[in-house]
């Protein structure tokens, strides 16, 4: 680790002011990505602004068909919340599958979305359900938010304050965890309502994406068999010692099939 100054922000304004005052400052929420990066001396921020204690960023509420979750809400709280379990059970399930108990006890929803790790779990749910990312200055729909590998629509001094999840229809998440890291090698979040079906794939590619062919096939027939003949194009997917592009394409399909089967109760 390199030396840095630690700032505990009490309010959102204090956090933004500090962020604006120091060009090399970084926000710290759960720290599940940032702290390992610092330990490996791969980042050298001058200041760490801890926003994990800001009350305005916490909490889970359900109002008028919208589930609102504060950005600093930890994965374990989402996984265990009766409100989330009732409104969007797949989201609670997804949260229960992130990392390990230590990660789930520290990591936050806002931190995961802002980081947009291509193998993180939350982006698939956000894109599939087209959640709204609320920041200290605007609202961004998931369709516009994710912009590829570790890139989002957020400005450098913008802070996610909450995420609004539409509560409609049914959804399911299936994930194949990376054998070492536990991140998604491929995760499929499938959401289905009267307007149609959205399939978001995480882990397999350089960023979360929608699998349009699968959505069309499921639009005609909402069952796993509808996907049988499809092949996800492997060329643009990730490849490393733990899996080829072809293996990831296969996993994305298998996870989508399993999510669809789960969603339709089969």
């Amino acid at each position: 680790m390199h030396a840095f100054s630690y700032v505990k922000a009490r309010t959102l304004k204090e956090a933004t002011d500090t962020l604006l005052a120091h060009s090399e400052a970084k926000l710290l929420a759960g720290g599940m990505t940032l702290i390992p990066t610092l330990k490996a001396r791969l980042a050298q921020p001058t200041h760490l602004i801890d926003i994990g204690g800001i009350e305005a960023l916490k909490g889970i509420s359900l109002k008028a068909g919208q589930l609102t979750i504060g950005a600093a809400t930890r994965h374990v709280e989402v996984a265990n919340s009766p409100v989330v379990k009732r409104a969007i059970p797949a989201l609670a399930y997804l949260a229960s599958q992130i990392g390990d108990p230590q990660v789930r006890n520290r990591g936050t929803m806002g931190g995961s979305l802002a980081n947009n790790d291509p193998a993180a779990d939350y982006p698939s749910a956000a894109l599939s359900l087209n959640a709204t990312i609320v920041t200290n200055r605007r609202e961004i729909v998931a369709d516009d938010f994710f912009q590829g590998l570790f890139t989002t629509a957020l400005d450098s001094d913008e802070i996610i304050t909450a995420v609004r999840w539409p509560v409609v229809g049914k959804s399911a998440y299936e994930k194949f965890p990376h054998p070492a890291s536990g991140y998604a090698m491929a995760g499929a979040f499938v959401a289905h309502n009267t307007k149609g079906t959205r399939v978001a794939i995480t882990g397999a590619g350089p960023g979360v994406f929608r699998w349009m062919e699968a959505e069309q096939a499921l639009g005609k027939k909402m069952n796993a068999k509808a996907l049988e003949a499809l092949q996800l194009e492997a060329a643009d997917l990730n490849e490393d010692m733990h899996g080829t592009k072809e293996y990831r394409a296969n996993l994305a399909k298998v996870m989508t099939k399993r999510a669809v089967a789960k969603l339709s109760g089969k």
Binding site: K39, P179, A180, M241, E246, Y247, L251
Partner: protein
Amino acid sequence: MDQHHHSPLFTVDGAKLSRLEDLRLITGKGRYASDWNDPQQLHACFLRADRAHANIVSINTDKALQHPGVKAIYTGADALAAGYLRSANFLTFAGKDGMKALVPDRPCLAIGKVRFVGDQVAMVVAQSHLAAQDACDLIEVVYEDLPAVIDPVAALQPGSVLIHDDIPGNSPFEAEAGNEAEVTQAIAKAAHVTKLSVDCTRVTASPMEPRAALIAYDKTTEQYTVHTPSQGVNMTRRQFAAYANNMSEDKIRVEVEDVGGGFGQRSSVYPEYVAMMIAAKALGHSIKWVSTRTESFLTDTHGRGNLITATLAMDENAQFTALRIDWITDMGAFLSPTGPVSHIRNPSTCLNGVYKIPALYGHFKVALTNTALVAAYRGAGRPDIAYAIERVVDTAALELNMNPADLRRRNYIPANEFPYKTATGSVYECADLPTLSAKALQLSDWSGFEARRLSSLAKGKLRGIGMSTVIEGTGAGMYPKDEIELSANAAGELTAHTVAHSQGQGHQTSFAMLISDAMQIPVEKIKIKQGDPARSPHIVGNHSGGSRSMVGAGTVCHLAALKLIEAAKSLAAEDLGVEPSQVSYSKGVFQAAGSRKKITLGELASKKTVSVKAEGAFSKQTFPNGSHITEVEVDPETGVSEIVSYLTVDDCGHVVSHTIVEGQVHGAVVQGLGQVFGEHIVYDKQTGQMITASFSDYVMPKAGDLKSIQVEECPTMSKLGPLGIKGVGEAGCTASLGALVNAVVNALHPYGIKHIDMPLTPAKVWATIEQAKSQR
């Protein structure tokens, strides 16, 4: 023996525990290497090679020396000045045609050349760890890159780049066992020959405790005091002294309490430690260093790394007639103290496994590569040879269309042929393989497998069954005997000092149980002390490794207790005014015959010194053996293998604590499945950069990987010691590799798949299935 299945619980500070040390360890009261501190200590940090093979053109430390807090920087020039150039090496036996091993120098800081990513180039010593780390970044090294050779087969090719100028062909050693001509002849005459090449992959031990040291120098006594993870302080002292230019062992004091995992990786004295000795003496301060996990991946010794080809010859009755083993062992860039000896001697001892094979030949070739060093790792060559044999036997069964259990049964060494002299000259002491194997087959319902396979298939899963029956030599040590010093105090408590050092094996429980049994004193009143510098130099004994501690030090705990009773009887006789022969002993009380006169052990110890030193010499090996049977379900859609049952039937002789034996078997089986399904140290073949240098890529086994395991015993008693004990610490590794791979290959056999090399990752299994499907 029934009580072994009902191991007692001990009461420690009000808690009911199955091991005496657990409360202390799980409540953070253990004292590990990095827990030792000196208020005046300075901190070391190592600049390491960022490339696999290069000449060092220059090292400029000017800027780094200016960094605030930096006290000194050391490089290869300092290693040369101190003469700290050669680590100890225990490879003492002669090789092929009497050749001696060419042991390359390994200066404690690189001189002129770096030979693997992580090789230590310079050591910064500063007032804080952070300052030392920052200063490392300021050292400027100019390298002249050389081509790197990562693959051991490529390293042995003529014309390969040389890693050491004085080691031709990158091969420092070659050895043979058995008789090549006999084997060649038998293969030529065989009715059937099965040949299989397997990669017993390179892995790393990953103990929870990182490598660390605190090293101080005392000007007056000219002694160094060392705190570092160790498997036994005698061997650690010996290696420190050897590395430090053959300094007298008296100049090294080693003080070690708890050790958080050893596995052979903590048996070596590493170059960083002796480099720290230079700084401790020059600067007059204790020097502290704690490695990062990345450094652990890059520079702690790795394990296995053997390419093995087994050629098995059979007659028309499927009786084995000969076995040839061709073995290339990748030792990395230098020879570790334990690597070459254990990777050649251990497999030579058990070259025929559990089978009666009249002709044997093993050829072992050591290769050097631009990678981290390889050393002993839980089993150290035994799991490797057992894996090769149990895979080739299963392959032979497949080729002959025989049940693998039948083929094994036909070839097991009969019980009445023990002690059995193998064709490589070792003598297996005792075993009853047919009985042990029959017990495993029965408990696992081997014959009912087909029904289970069909019910898995109905769920879309491919079920496979695999067995592995193995034997291994354990117990022999480097020191001629094992001693235990046992003393009583006024409270009637006993303290035993031992060299054998628990790294998690539970000696504090199992050794205490032996003393408790012999002396009829509650186990909670017995303390086992290890690594005490005031005592250890006066005690001869072996480190813990090679599954030897219960065989050696454990047995001597029993002998020490008996000796203490006799010695104390004499003292009690004086006190009671009777002849020693008239004193009887029971439950901590000495009683004079025919009178009411008695004295307790505590009272006696308050008046006189009640202390003995006992010894036992165990120069021969014991031969634990066992049969493991496992079933897996493979998901053909994802390639995931799930272990659905795992049974072990082991013969480790007399069992002192079933709990401890179970713990050893559980741990070793999980370590085995780690290697089978995921663990793998991988280097980029061109650059020599390690691809798996963190737990994000190095696949550790997880608790859910083995949901249940049944541990059974089928003992035959060793006569090597009075208690009949055989070693067990490594048995689970030795048997599990073959059993698990056999089970997966069995599951995939419907696709015509005959072999897959470890690790059997989901991606690899899926790709193998897809390829097999496309070829049909």
